[in-house]
């Protein structure tokens, strides 16, 4: 029965994508992207990917919408009329779609336990995680320990992207968030009392929930990536209702930059500590005398590093856009 719900949600997903394609108002397109993300999270959850759904929830519903709207506010909210129809792309795209659909007939069916993906590596992870790492959430175990290199790479992609955005938007000092002054005219939603009070009530809960996701990630769905996105969503809410300058007073731009570097540094430092203790890079078993306790310590530390960097990058990107808007 749930499978049928999944099919229905997938159909809605296709309809939304077509809607995004046809929307000429970019505002409408961004809002449909928000819906798209909500549908995506539902389908992830239906397909047993709780951690991924949580990430999509934290990123798609909060941060992505806000960033897209920030960019729209700096550019234009209307798309020009498309003058001509693009026949060649339509033909190419349709033919490719049909080819991919034709190719899928050889694919294993959804949920087939005999599918090749389920034969290698994954069973080992599932059976060995309790023995080697002893935490219930296998996703966190793989992310932080078994495939620690991979996550390190991803973290540095985020790190680099964050630095890139800051280079693009805040190089001239007049437009940097460092010089952002309170401006009562554009100060968030200050004049809207009801949303403001409820929003203020909500901010601590979002941040608290973010911390819970950060430190409970070994036992339930969660971890540094989700927590970073959630916590930055909380601060973005604060910035929306109280104005960016007020938010920067709580977590200044320098602190955010510090968080970005500290997080990345912490990750590498844990890896190097493994070498110093006579193991391999990112081998946590040698961190403490008891290998399992060492694994736990390593995972907590690198998840903390991931959380710090993700929070720092997302928030400083948000502030960079906001400062650009206020000075333009």
């Amino acid at each position: 029965m749930v499978t049928f719900f999944g099919l229905f949600v997938l159909t809605l997903l296709v309809i939304t994508a077509i809607g995004i394609l046809r929307a000429e108002n970019l505002f409408a397109a961004v809002m449909l992207t928000g819906l798209f993300s909500l549908l995506m999270a539902s389908i992830f959850f239906i397909l047993d990917a709780a951690d991924v759904a949580l990430t999509e929830a934290a990123v798609g519903a909060g941060v992505a919408t806000v960033l897209m709207l920030s960019a729209l506010a700096l550019t234009s909210d209307r798309e020009q009329q498309q003058r001509r129809r693009h026949w060649i792309p339509i033909v190419v795209v349709s033919v490719t779609t049909l080819l991919i659909i034709y190719a899928t007939f050889d694919n294993p069916r959804l949920g087939d336990p005999g599918a090749p993906v389920h034969q290698h590596v994954a069973p080992w992870y599932l059976s060995e995680t309790p023995r080697l790492i002893d935490i219930p959430n296998v996703v966190t175990a793989i992310l932080a320990s078994f495939r620690g290199y991979d996550t390190l790479g991803e973290l540095f992609v985020i790190f680099t992207a964050g630095i890139g955005v800051l280079f693009m938007l805040s190089t001239d000092t007049e437009r940097s968030p460092l010089t952002l002054l309170p401006n009562p005219d554009t100060e968030g939603l200050r004049h809207h009392q009801v949303p403001r009070i409820i929003g203020r009530l909500l901010v601590p809960f979002i941040v608290l929930f973010g911390l819970y996701v950060q430190f409970h990630g070994e036992y339930g769905p969660g971890g540094g990536f989700q927590a970073g996105a959630l916590i930055s969503a909380g601060f973005i809410l604060f910035a929306l209702i109280e104005g960016e300058a007020a938010a920067l007073k709580v977590l200044s731009f320098r602190v955010l930059a510090g968080m970005i570097t500290t997080g990345a540094f912490l990750y590498v430092a844990v890896g190097l500590a493994g070498i110093a203790r006579g193991g391999n890079f990112l081998d946590y078993s040698v961190l403490l005398d008891d290998p399992i306790a060492g694994q736990h310590l390593g995972i907590i530390l690198i998840e903390l590093g991931v959380g710090l960097t993700v929070t720092g990058v997302l928030l400083s990107v948000f502030h960079a856009f906001a400062a650009r808007r206020q000075h333009s």
Binding site: L12, A50, A57, G220
Partner: protein, 92 residues
């Protein structure tokens, strides 16, 4: 009975999606997105029970917390846009 509730919620999601696609004003779309967010939180709770893994209610909790941000952000930017367009009209 979980199925009945889940089905009702999913059908409502489809209706909200139709509203978001039809518009016509930006506020209708925001309304649809907001509805969609609460429906997603409900759907995730119901499916957590269907799967018998109630420890995944965290997800629904995340949606209940985050959904509000999108609506507020849209409102703030709509407000800014209206101010900007009015200023542009004054300049003409």
């Amino acid at each position: 009975m979980f199925h009945a509730a889940a089905a009702a919620i999913i059908v409502t999601m489809a209706l909200a999606l139709a509203r978001a696609l039809l518009g016509p004003t930006v506020y209708d779309r925001v309304l649809a997105v907001n509805m969609f967010g609460t429906k997603t939180a409900l759907l995730l709770s119901v499916i957590a029970f269907l799967y018998g893994r109630t420890d995944f209610l965290d997800l629904a909790l995340a949606y209940a917390l985050i959904n509000f941000i999108g609506v507020l952000a849209v409102l703030k930017f709509v407000q800014d846009f209206t101010i900007r367009h009015k200023e542009a009209e004054h300049k003409d």
